[in-house]
């Protein structure tokens, strides 16, 4: 089987990456858990997991189908082995799938969502529903791809989950009716959606570029450990499928707009919060890591240095070519990008939008300002839940507005952070 790096491609001008034909990004457990939770809060405990399962199966099929072709894998056993090892290499845990003709069982050990949920919330909250819907969707897609079954025709249910105190996760697979197929958002669709816009250099470009290259070199060697997990910088990291995040986000937005439009502002705020909690913890963890100190150097109490560093990190994690346009200490931050990982999906599957749609960029920009302005880096605070609550429970110190968006027909996406 080819290594992940051999199956990797990148659109350098957009800083977007693909594994096989699937757009991929690195995301931490804070983001993964909060985004799933928001979908369930909006759609309820039954419909939410259904939407998430459909998205996971859809995005995973696109990934696995392209990986099988790239590897020339022919037999079901060969294909299933590639599916299982890819899942672990991406940091999602260990899956062992026994399926034939769309029926069967799968066992999950150390699955990312269940394990991370247990560690983050398990001591204070009792979970009532399984946490590993992404693994369920991936398992169903693997069964389809391995056996050459119609796309999106296998159902998988998580019967036992470590987040509900089971010793391991267990899934049952059954054949189902084929779901409605949607156009894939791969390399070609991304190029078609974005056109040939050339990026314009922004402030601190050499610094940002150097950080991106350094961090990208480090990430290139990162794989799941013996449990299929990636633990770095104080978080669990996954290489994840952008189309999963995008589908659950925009399907939820569509449903809330049609059934409870008054709730859309709250929903968008919570989607922003998933980006905020992610960037605060992951970027903060990277900035304070020994790896950072070794490769880049000590952090000084310089907010502009933190902002530039965060943009370099964002590019290395495949979030897009985030560019610094303006930074006024204590007052204002302007970031733009030729595209986010969100836009190609939206444009391909939904067309143009009536509202700015880059929720992750919005929340991330807010968090970058918080990291730059409110964290005393030389004191090296522990980025704990208590610290996060202490900083953000008292209300907003900053607000963010997305002033341009590719989904609105603009030539770039732009966010402005300022005082409320």
């Amino acid at each position: 089987m080819k290594d992940l790096l051999d199956l990797w491609s990148r659109l350098p001008e957009q800083e977007l990456s693909f594994l096989g034909d699937a757009p991929v990004i690195y995301h931490c457990h804070h983001f993964n858990l909060f985004l799933d939770q928001t979908v369930d809060d909006a759609l309820g405990p039954k419909r939410g997991p259904q939407v998430r399962f459909a998205a996971a199966r859809d995005a995973s099929y696109q990934l696995l189908d392209s990986l099988m072709q790239a590897n020339g894998a022919q037999t079901p056993a060969e294909r299933m082995a590639i599916a299982e090892s890819t899942f672990a290499a991406m940091g999602h845990g260990r899956l062992s799938i026994g399926a034939s003709g769309g029926s069967g069982k799968a066992i999950g050990e150390h699955l990312h969502y269940g394990r991370a949920w247990s560690e983050k919330y398990g001591a204070s909250v009792r979970r009532r529903h399984p946490a590993d819907t992404f693994a369920a969707g991936y398992t169903a897609a693997a069964a389809e791809v391995a056996a050459g079954l119609p796309r999106e025709s296998v159902l998988a249910n998580e019967d036992r989950c470590i987040a509900m105190r089971a010793p391991r996760c267990e899934f049952s697979l059954t054949p189902g009716e084929q779901a409605e197929l949607r156009p894939d958002v791969g390399v070609q669709a991304t190029l078609a959606a974005l056109g040939d816009l050339k990026p314009e250099p922004g402030l601190h470009e050499p610094t940002i570029g150097a950080i991106t290259e350094t961090l990208r070199s480090f990430l290139a060697g990162v794989r799941g450990d013996q449990h299929g997990l990636v633990q770095n910088f104080g978080v669990y990291i996954t290489l994840h499928l952008a189309s999963y995040y995008n589908r659950i986000t925009y399907d939820t937005i569509s449903q809330v707009l049609s059934t409870a439009p008054k709730m859309i502002d709250v929903l968008e705020s919570l989607f922003r919060e998933s980006g905020h909690v992610c960037v605060f913890n992951t970027f903060g963890g990277i900035l304070m890591s020994p790896e950072w100190e070794g490769a880049i150097g000590d952090l000084k109490e310089d907010p502009e240095e933190i902002v530039a560093a965060c943009l370099g990190i964002a590019r290395a994690l495949n979030f897009g070519r985030w560019t610094l346009r303006e930074y006024v200490p204590g007052e204002r931050l302007v970031i733009d990008t030729p595209s986010t990982y969100e836009c190609p999906y939206y444009i391909t599957r939904h067309g143009t939008s009536s509202r700015p749609s880059c929720y992750f960029l919005q929340g991330a920009a807010l968090a970058i300002m918080q990291l730059a302005e409110r964290v005393k880096w030389t004191a090296r605070p522990a980025l704990t839940q208590d610290y996060y609550n202490q900083l953000f429970r008292g209300g907003a110190h900053w607000k963010v507005e997305q002033t341009r968006c590719r989904t609105l027909g603009h030539d770039r996406c732009e966010v402005v952070v300022s005082r409320p």
Binding site: V125, A260, K262, N389, R393
Partner: protein, 192 residues
Amino acid sequence: MSLTNMNKVVEGIAGLRGVFVTLMPDCLLFDSWIRGTSDWIAEDIAAYFGDLVRSNREGLKSIESWAADMQVTIESADTLVVLRELEGGLVASMIFDREIPMGMVRLNVKRLLARLKVALPSIQLEERPRAERLLEFLERYAPDPHAVRMRVALQTGISLDVLTRPESLSEAQADDIEESVKSILGLDSLTY
């Protein structure tokens, strides 16, 4: 400023680290005394121990073993905590150094309670709206308290603006909020 003369109440009580008087059922701090300098947050301590006493009361009632003079004793690594319901909807939480012998603690608790009975004013209890108590309970225990009202809004369909004025909510809306709080905390029932 202390509502009661707490310095006089605790005078001569050996090994005492703190006293917290909680006003029930809302678990609000009524008065407190803390020895020396400390990072303790009196409002939080009053709220958590108030909740604990309430849960203890409900648990004992469920096994038909509750009595008004029940007392909860907690032995932690470096403290000994005694919780006691007082008349008039109050709860006293008394925290002692761990090395104080239990017999001495019991004696000191008795003295403290006698002094508190004299010192505390009689209170006319006015119950706050159920929705308000529910939201405060949730914010005390939810893992992401800064985002939790937005989660309730999304789950219930009650706007954030309305949630900031819980006294205006109907009983049906309070029921929805209670379901949301149970869902967020993963609880089958609430004592708040």
